[in-house]
């Protein structure tokens, strides 16, 4: 097996056990998916297959592995979000077509939860601005997480109740633009390697917008749950 010399010896000795563990975990997950009938259980079991993917990618043991794990995790998160929404709406259609009565208040928390902290009404704008500014300063994945925390705080707090629908569409548009930035940066890296700083900045800004907008979408999704009395 050809191992580049910058891979530490301990990592290359851990390569084979990690690969086998990943294959075993993936096999267990896929077998369980094949044997399971109900949709929500299959959705939970895809999580296990995603974890097997993480072991196999992580076994490479260089910075390349880390760069591949981050998008994998984000894509898996988006996929589980989308499929759970599809499952819920499909069950709603099934129940409505059976002319059964639909219970109105289905929620995430069994008890009504009101986030009534003073910081939500007095200084939410300031805190969100500080977090977003610091996130833009950091750029990249960490910056996206920090800025997304700011967006999440702003969305959940009381000030922004009744966010219009075009904001939601706008967030989706920003997400598309950020993918374009990321791909342009990636392609530029190979076409013109002497422009590496520009392509690195493009990719970092794209990733920042991507992560921040995703956290904002989660905030909008969760806000209806938090606002319930």
């Amino acid at each position: 097996m050809l191992v580049p010399e910058f891979v530490p010896g301990i990592f290359s000795s851990m390569y084979l056990p990690a690969i086998y563990a990943g294959l075993i975990v993936g096999f267990i997950g896929l077998m369980a998916i094949a044997m399971e009938k109900r949709d929500i259980h299959i959705l939970i079991l895809t999580d296990i297959v995603g974890l097997a993917m993480l072991i196999i990618v992580g076994a490479v043991g260089t910075d390349l592995a880390e760069a591949l794990i981050l998008p994998g995790l984000v894509v898996e998160l988006a996929e589980i979000m989308a499929i759970s929404e599809i499952l819920i709406s499909r069950e709603m259609h099934k129940i409505e077509s059976n002319k059964k009565k639909m219970p109105k208040n289905a929620s995430i928390f069994p008890l009504p939860l009101v986030l009534d902290m003073e910081i939500m009404t007095t200084s939410s704008n300031f805190l969100a601005l500080v977090l977003i500014g610091y996130g833009v300063f950091l750029t990249g994945f960490t910056g996206g997480a920090v800025a997304g925390g700011g967006v999440l705080l702003y969305v959940i707090s009381r000030k922004s109740r009744g966010l219009p629908i075009f904001v939601f569409d706008g967030i989706s548009g920003v997400s598309g633009i950020s993918w374009c930035l990321w791909i342009i940066g990636f392609a530029l890296f190979f076409i013109a390697p002497n422009l590496w700083l520009l392509s690195l900045t493009l990719a970092a800004c794209g990733l920042l917008m991507k992560v921040a907008s995703k956290l904002g979408l989660i905030g909008i999704l969760m806000r209806e749950e938090f606002k319930r009395e």
């Binding site: 301990i10 990592f11 851990m14 056990p17 990690a18 563990a21 075993i24 975990v25 267990i28 997950g29 077998m31 369980a32 109900r38 929500i40 259980h41 959705l43 939970i44 079991l45 999580d47 296990i48 974890l51 097997a52 993480l54 072991i55 992580g58 076994a59 043991g61 592995a65 880390e66 794990i69 981050l70 995790l73 984000v74 898996e76 998160l77 589980i80 979000m81 759970s84 499952l87 819920i88 069950e91 709603m92 099934k94 129940i95 059964k100 639909m102 219970p103 208040n105 289905a106 929620s107 995430i108 069994p110 994945f141 960490t142 997480a145 989660i218 749950e225």
Partner: protein, 86 residues
């Protein structure tokens, strides 16, 4: 100096045991129990990533595990309250 292999093989053991428990463990007819069992496997993955010095990947894995668990709980409780077959 503690041997790094201890953490690595503990991680592999936890990942395999956790995935077995998720697939065919006790009381997995309840989707909540099945979701909680995936946490065991994800702790194992965290230990493996820790051995490889993947700091950012480890932090992201922890964050996404929490969010995925919340989303799955939301889906499960919604489906149960609608009276669907879970």
């Amino acid at each position: 100096m503690i041997d790094i292999n201890i953490f690595f093989y503990t991680g592999i053991f936890l990942a395999i045991i956790g995935s077995l428990a998720t697939a065919w463990g006790p009381k997995v007819k309840d989707p909540i129990v099945r979701t909680l069992n995936t946490e065991v496997a994800s702790i194992g993955i965290s230990l493996i990533l820790l051995c490889y010095n993947h700091t950012l990947a480890l932090l992201t894995l922890m964050a996404t595990t929490v969010i995925v668990t919340l989303i799955l709980f939301r889906a499960i409780t919604r489906l149960e309250e609608m009276g669907a077959d879970v």
